[in-house]
Amino acid sequence: MNHQEHMQSTVLSIYPSSRGYAYVLFESAENPYDWGVKDIRKKNKNEAALEGISTLIERYLPDYLVIEDHTEKGSRRSTRIRRLYRMISNVALKEGIEIRRVPREAIFKCFASDGVKKKSDIARAIARELPELAHRLPPARKIWMSEDPRQGLFDAAALGVAFYTTLRL
């Protein structure tokens, strides 16, 4: 695959959260084709999330599946989500889809030119870059507020954007 073909690869980035998961399917670096936030209120969250993610994988058969690198030092994902990441990796392996793990550090490095310090800064940078998602940008979070579920969408998009940046290098 040459550079041009790499930039045209379809990428499904997934960001699980305590309330469910968010996903963005990129048709190419600047073109998100589908995106969404799924709220899961069942007891067995991982099984329900995996079912939804498997459906997405089967429907779109992306070239790459991108998730956060939970194995890196300093990753602050819960045990349940780490388990879900392993389950997602197994599904991707079974479907023959290449899985890529992007560390948090790489995401922040990717948006360094925008002077980002927080996830919300990255979300704003993505909203500028991908106007399709701009209307889903959550309001600025106050210290007493819990995270808006829509933030997950921008975290998933950030994974995809950071992944395409690594392909560009």
């Binding site: 041009q4 379809t10 048709e27 998100p32 084709y33 589908d34 995106w35 779109y60 058969l61 399709e132």
Partner: protein
């Protein structure tokens, strides 16, 4: 274009924060199920839907429904080629005019497809 893409209806709809129910209303359908089926490629859009989408989203039908366009293009061009062959030996003025028209249409499609494929 990746094989899973039937059309860009879902992308355009979500880009403008329109729900399936609202789009169904805009396209003159009662149920959002119709939109869901169109988005999943389970139903072929009617000419009314194709033209209404062009009106709504401001993108040519070719860009919004690439798969459908490609299918129709293939069929029509095959017919054009057949007609060309049928009148190829004729030398009348009208036959020459017709051949000119068919050759232009075929050439236009080839140029467009080469551009899309980056040739």
């Amino acid at each position: 274009m990746p094989s899973f893409i039937h059309d860009y209806l879902r992308s355009h709809r979500r880009k403008w924060a329109i729900t399936q129910k609202e789009l169904a209303f805009l396209l003159g359908h009662k149920s959002p199920t119709h939109i869901s089926r169109l988005e999943q490629g389970k139903r072929i859009p009617s000419k009314d839907v194709v033209l209404a989408c062009e009106v709504l989203f401001g993108v040519p039908a070719r860009s919004c429904f690439p798969k459908l366009y490609a299918e129709i293009e293939e069929t029509v061009l095959a017919r054009a080629a057949t007609l060309y062959e049928r009148i190829d030996n004729e030398t009348s003025k009208t036959a020459i005019r017709k051949k000119e028209f068919l050759a232009t249409a075929l050439k236009r499609a080839i140029t467009r497809n080469n551009k899309t494929e980056g040739v």
